[in-house]
Structures are given as structure tokens and as C-alpha cells.
Symmetry: C2
């Protein structure tokens, strides 16, 4: 049974949980699981069954009561919502450790994110390849952008250079930035910025440690 879905407006909170559903459903699919009840999915994901039902209601297309979810169908529907049914060419600016770590995630490719090149200012990195993908020098960037269809740029460079480089990217047609620099970027409204602030996450960890200690002292 395939239910034709209208993609209505889905709340931000639901969207933020979708990658996690997608990850779990992908694991089930890899394990050869064809269907799963909301109860079993709930146990696996440590989310209440009612939360799961509510979230996944947004996508219709799940089986009858007593059948549970069709794993493959749901995985593919969530993938479509997340835009993973299309390919996205991307480049990495900054071929240091973090840039190389990202370049080495072959799993991004499976989700449709195709790395086309890395760029750096360090002449020692000129011409080396990571998984067969060449590192180019920053002075080749503008030409490269004009001759290739690049949608996303990952910024793995220090904060001090990030603003300047982001401006160059945007002037040359980049409309989506995956930002790892430790700063917020202020860019035109039609440019999408998704930031990963590693130290923010470390601070959340540290906050939770203090809270646990406060509880113990009481």
C-alpha cells in the first residue's frame, strides 16, 4: 500500500527529530527488518510510543493498526522530506584535520552528498587527495565555483577567516553553508547556514556534569 502524501507544513520540533528516525530506520533496514510496531521502535529509540505516533502521523503512509510501520516505506518518505532523494554537490573549505575527517565520511555519499573538492591555503596540501578527491589552493576557488555546480560549502577554517571566506562563497553563488567555525555568520536571508559549534556541545556536557554534582550534594 502506497499512500500519496501531501507534504504539509511540519513543525520545526518534528523536523529536528527526523534525522534520528532516519538513522534508526536505516539501521533496521540494514538488519533486514521489514516492519516494526511503534512500541518496539519506542523501546529502541527511548522515545514514548505516543511521541513516535504523533511525529510519524505527519507522513501518513504507515500500515494498518496491528501491522506497525513499513520500515522501507517510512525510511524513504522521511528521506524525501529531508531532501535526501536528490544529490547535493559540496566542497570543504579548510583541509586540516576537521576538513579531512569530513572528507573521509564515505557515508555522506550514501545520503547523496557528493564531495567535489577541498580547498586550503597551505601549499603543503596542494595536490594531495582524500578518497580520490583533490585538495586545491584557495586561489582556484572562484574559478572552480563558476565551472562546477556546487550547492553546499563546509567551512572548517578558523573563526578569523570564516566571515571573509563566507562572503566570497556567497558572492560566487553558494547558497548553503555548513559552518564549523566558532562564530555565527551573518549572511543574506536566502543563504542557509547550519552551524556545528563543537564547544557549545562541550559546554552542555559540562552543564550536565555540574547539575549531577549539585543533585549529589543535596
Amino acid at each position: 500500500m502506497v499512500v500519496k502524501l501531501e507534504h504539509r507544513k511540519i513543525s520545526r520540533a518534528v523536523i529536528s527529530r527526523l534525522p534520528r528516525y532516519y538513522r534508526f530506520l536505516g539501521e533496521l533496514l540494514d538488519a533486514g527488518v521489514e516492519r516494526i510496531s511503534s512500541g518496539d521502535l519506542s523501546k529502541k529509540m527511548h522515545v514514548t510510543a505516543s511521541q513516535i505516533r504523533q511525529d510519524l502521523n505527519n507522513f501518513g503512509g504507515f500500515g494498518q493498526q496491528g501491522y506497525g510501520y513499513n520500515v522501507k516505506h517510512l525510511y524513504s518518505e522521511i528521506g524525501k522530506i529531508l531532501g535526501l532523494d536528490k544529490t547535493h554537490n559540496f566542497i570543504i573549505i579548510g583541509a586540516g584535520n576537521l576538513g579531512q575527517a569530513l572528507a573521509n565520511y564515505a557515508s555522506f555519499e550514501k545520503s547523496g552528498f557528493i564531495l567535489k573538492s577541498l580547498f586550503d591555503v597551505n601549499p603543503r596540501l596542494e595536490g594531495i587527495s582524500i578518497r580520490g578527491i583533490r585538495v586545491r589552493m584557495m586561489d582556484e576557488l572562484v574559478d572552480f565555483l563558476h565551472n562546477n555546480d556546487i550547492e553546499i560549502a563546509a567551512l572548517t577554517i578558523p573563526k578569523s577567516k570564516a566571515v571573509e571566506v563566507a562572503d566570497i562563497l556567497v558572492k560566487n553563488g553558494i547558497k548553503a553553508i555548513w559552518n564549523f567555525a566558532h562564530t555565527d555568520l551573518t549572511l543574506p536571508k536566502d543563504v542557509i547556514v547550519e552551524s556545528v559549534h563543537l564547544s557549545d556541545s562541550l559546554m552542555q556536557l559540562s552543564y550536565n556534569i555540574s547539575q549531577r554534582e549539585n543533585v549529589r550534594k543535596k
Copy 2:
């Protein structure tokens, strides 16, 4: 004026915004700014002034009306809430590109996170140092944990090994894990896990790209 604060219960939503306030206040402090109005902070952070006032009300300790916030005081109060007034020793499990990238962030040290060692299974990495911090082999891990006061372990290893290694860490006293492996860890309740799922963030970016395209088509 120093206001003695009682650290009351603060909502999760406020807590999740604190690292960003801390980052902006730190930048102001570096720039020599002593005080700032909620209006100016609002413009800088692209958050409404009323949101800022509401959030920071949790900390008392800001100046009179017409004065604005005392940057240094507020920075230090938020730092305390986040547990950054204490030092936290940590280790990194996995000295590949991502592990080395984390080891190279000297700024973690400024916030009190002191890297004590990295561990890996790759014999080629044995004995090398990153910013003077040695990479050890995994078979030295348990002894190291017993002889050093380590609070946090960052896991920058593949998903296939993450669960097994997390169990070893927890059995040997680690109470906080900063998880970069592409899987959710199920650990005893008193162990704090903060996960950074890079592909989840890439999927959010991709979702926002599709939404923008849908809007254009209309």
C-alpha cells in the same frame, strides 16, 4: 554591584541558549566592552531584546535600567552555571582526523577542559604527540583511567566499536561521554552522554535547502 545569586532551576530551552550567550559575551570582553544594553546585544545576536531579557533574568546580577548588562559579570555568572569555573580532565578515544582536530582546539583549555591523553589502536600513532599530548595505545587505557582523574571521554571512533569502548569506559569510572560515533549509546543513567551527530546536522541543512526550493516553485 555584585548580586548573590541563588541557582534556581532553569529551563532546558534557556540552558541550550547559554553557550551562545557565553560566546558572544566572550567576544565583547575580548573587544574591551564593559557593558551592553539588551537592545545592542539583541542586534548583535539576532534575538529579540525581550527574549534576551527573559533569558538573562534567570541570572539576576545585571545592572540597573539604563545601564545595561555588565559584560564581565554576566560572562562569569553564565560560565559558573555551565560549570566552566571548574576544570575537567578529558581524554580522546580515536586519534584519527577528528580526534586530532579536537586535540588541536586549544580554546577548550581556556574553558577548563584539559586534554590528558589520546588513545588509538593504530600502532603507527603510538608515541606521537599533539600539542605535547601523547597518543597511547588502547591496551594502556584501563591502567591510565585508574591512575588519572579523568572525567570526560570523547569518542571519535567508528560506530562499530563505539558501544564496546563506551562499556569499557563506564566500567572503569568514566561518567561523561562526548560521543561523535554515528550511533546512540545506551548507558547507565548516571552517565552523561552528549552526542554530536554530524550527519544529522547535514540532513537539517539539506531539509532547509528543499524547503527553499519548494517555496520558489510556488
